[in-house]
Symmetry: C2
Subunit: 197 residues, 2 copies
């Protein structure tokens, strides 16, 4: 056994898990999302900056506001998934930094005084957290359907009028429905990805 993680967990999170395009109508509860968050919140970000913010779209009105900004090919699944989450980076994450990284409270001013530095850091670290969140959805026994096909400026204006957030992904969440996915596409071989110096 080269890996410490048990085989069932490997299958649940990676090998058998797939991005779903259709879903059953079984609801996804707030308790499930809270359990996902309370697990993946521990995964690392630089200075523990934790810039990911999540909007759960539950109302019919919220769903309509979102679907209009999705690419046409993503609209049917975004309209029918039991739950849709908008994942965004908070460019003003530094306000919480003295509390989040008490070992080095100067980090807020030393590294993040300027907005461009904050935007770059928030985009990367929130993207890490999007990855963790997708794994967390799978840890809950649910399927994720992450999408980046949408009018980002439209979603930002619609859901984040403060101008301080930037959408990174929209994720459909639920139990996989009929014909939920195509055959799995091939992955790059190890030697195509990894080199040694």
């Amino acid at each position: 056994m080269t890996l410490a993680l048990d085989a069932a967990a490997q299958d649940l999170l990676f090998r058998e898990a797939r991005s779903a395009n259709t879903f059953t109508d079984e609801p996804v509860t707030d308790e499930q999302i809270q359990a996902v968050y309370d697990l993946v919140k521990y995964a690392p970000t630089a200075f523990n900056q934790s810039p990911l913010r999540i909007v759960l779209v539950r109302s019919d009105e919220g769903r309509e506001r979102l679907v209009q900004h999705m690419a046409e090919g993503n609209r049917p699944k975004t309209s029918t998934a039991p739950l849709v989450a908008i994942l965004a980076a908070d460019h003003e994450f530094h306000e919480e930094l003295p509390r989040l990284f008490p070992h080095f409270p100067q980090a807020k001013d030393a590294f993040f005084a300027e907005r461009p530095a904050r935007e770059q850091s928030a985009s990367f670290n929130a993207a890490l957290q999007v990855g963790y969140f997708i794994i967390g959805i799978r840890a809950a026994g649910l399927a994720a359907g992450p999408m980046t096909g949408y009018d980002a400026a439209g979603i930002n204006k619609e859901f984040f009028p403060d101008g301080d957030h930037s959408v990174l992904a929209v994720v459909n969440i639920g139990r996989p429905g009929e014909s939920a996915w195509l055959e799995r596409s091939p992955r790059l071989a190890y030697d195509e990805v990894v080199t040694t110096v």
Copy 2:
């Protein structure tokens, strides 16, 4: 049980896992990294574009070339970790796209003909894969020490002279050593991160 993932796996990947700052001298083998890759390669990216590229720094010469570009505070651990990996986004990932996403071979030209679109997509999707890779290191029973404190332009020039790659993180890998971490910093509460519309 709100989560399907067993408690031991939750602890291994998230709750007990920590970013390590010191390491024992136990080697990290190519077989371990291959097992990590062969697990996390299945996690999703847009159009299965899989833009992450990994450079394993094993030689003394490679280590010296890297350490000179690290921020001073990161040099001691980067010098002493059993293995260091440079994680980068490949901005020319689209060349492999017809093979990686056979369901829609037109994606290469329809979405990724222009370099800025490719860079943006590669940066986000490779960042997702950095997150998956960190989880994979933990799945191998190892500790990761991800860092973004370095001269990125220097690393890019040193290790990716083709101009087609952009470093996203440098990760120390090994078994945690003495005083490997500080006390865990607090996380944001669910209600600070998640809103509902």
